[in-house]
Symmetry: C2
Subunit: 339 residues, 2 copies
Amino acid sequence: MTASINDVAQAVGVSASTVSRALRGRPGVSDEVRDRIAAVAAQLGYTASRSASSLASGRTYTIGVLVPYVGRWFFGTVLDAAEKVFSTAGYDVLLYNLGSPETRKRFFTKLPVRKRVDAVLSLLIPDDDESAALRSLGVPLATTVGGTRPGFTVVGIDDRAGTESAVRHLVNLGHRRIGMISGASGPLHWTTPIERRNAYLDVLAEAGIEHDAALEADGDYTVEGGERAMTELLAASRPPTAVFAQSDEMAMGALRALRRHRLKAPDDVSVVGFDDHELADVVGLTTVAQPVAEQGAEAARLLLRQLDEPGAEPPRHVQMPIRLVLRETTAPPRPRGPQ
Amino acid sequence: MTASINDVAQAVGVSASTVSRALRGRPGVSDEVRDRIAAVAAQLGYTASRSASSLASGRTYTIGVLVPYVGRWFFGTVLDAAEKVFSTAGYDVLLYNLGSPETRKRFFTKLPVRKRVDAVLSLLIPDDDESAALRSLGVPLATTVGGTRPGFTVVGIDDRAGTESAVRHLVNLGHRRIGMISGASGPLHWTTPIERRNAYLDVLAEAGIEHDAALEADGDYTVEGGERAMTELLAASRPPTAVFAQSDEMAMGALRALRRHRLKAPDDVSVVGFDDHELADVVGLTTVAQPVAEQGAEAARLLLRQLDEPGAEPPRHVQMPIRLVLRETTAPPRPRGPQ
DNA sequence: CTGTTAGCGCCTTCAA
DNA sequence: TTGAAGGCGCTAACAG
């Protein structure tokens, strides 16, 4: 059907090897022949079959990217940036959307990327078995989430510092009843919610504020979950005057819940998010900003470097800067408290 | 390094052909042998090399998905849904993020998907040359954007009807100065902005409202662009009392601009969006809802069907339902008009 | 600088 | 029901 390397070779009157060398820019081909080959290849619309060349060379020029939810802003943004780095370097991206436990399980048992990719970027946090499965691929591994783990290059942020800056901000404003909307750690083996929770507890403790379990609710890292969680918190006998949400999407859900209850941020309740979602500014959300796209790009670059220099010891952990962005959803508590 | 089909064959004491047949569930293998092969394969962690099998069979079990901006909510959501359909059916997804003209050009000249995919789902609208390039791949083609085009199955919405419902809603509320924030059609060869504009002009005409060019501004389909566009409109000698934005992201930018000008929707200006973005509800945005994920899923399904039934004539155009969702950013104009 | 010779790992006839 | 042989299209030695 489509032209093969032999068609080109025949048309030019050289051997297939020469065509192969010429088209891949390898040395050992006269300029004259190289030009003729390029011309004929273009005219025939020849593109080397990736299957055949990777079978022969062992290189796939493909990167596997594992994502929990492509549609979620954070992951979409990381993926976008990473893909650009990969494609610029001549690599294709094989995308695996592993949101549900079933797809995830199927992926890790069948491991369809085996012999198919030169490296893997995981935007989800593999548990120990999954990590081992990925390591068994024998290719460079990186992730933008979770803590350090053997065999992986991790590009991330200081979750503790980020959380501390958010909660301290609320404390400094004078809040004493500070709630938290966290994300389920559930099947994701995600340490982020836990680390952020610990930091939250520590800041409360250092401020001499007693922790109240009724001030914590799970928001599942979604807008809807955030709304539910805020609704829960508002139903407490003594609701919080401020809330730290572990993600902007949950914070936005919280804002929606407030609106539904005819309450306002920051007048009735202050709200801080985490991420600096592209729409955080639209709703005026105070939040902890992290460089999302940059994390994806950096992880991609580190992976490519490992591919280029197979010998070198890759960096284990790269920390990106975070900063608190003050907007309009936080203020001192009302003199008399809500209501 | 990793186990090959021969390793499995040897370990079981059968030939490679039998292993191949057994593992792919083809007939002609006794149950007893099949079970033994399955066991050994699992134990050895054997996965067939995709490169080798597609080289031999001609099937890649891979779908190419072309996306202009993975990080944009609309595309991320479509991709998410499509990927789920593909992976459930046993296909992998090769992702191409073709936002910039350069990446796009490189993609269409080199066409790296040649011989690499069984089908292509394009979330961007190819121009005529690009369409021809894709057709030259000789695989089923689908898209979720733009109008009907030869060789493609199109899953979309009725842009005209959607726009009409939005603009008529504003007219019915009593607005006469109705602005529009549109998206650049620029290098994307996107007919959507044009169709929506035509529908907008038609509704104005049918309502006997004279069109005022100063009431149109370009928002580039981004939040920032929407903000700029709204700012522009507000600077007009007679600013609009209502604005139709061609996407929710631009509408949200418009809301931000209003806030910056200490104006409110709908008190000072009514705003309608298009898409029903997941956060539209958070900001109370009235909008034209379209089934975004469903479009991706449906397009994916239609592509798979073409792969299953190579003979059948694929549907050319599938229309998905839209509906106007009334929220809190639209209301009748103020008795005296703004200011 | 160029051609020849072997595979890469699997699937698909065709025989048995 | 199974095995043997050949080839998918390309790349990597090795010659020349």
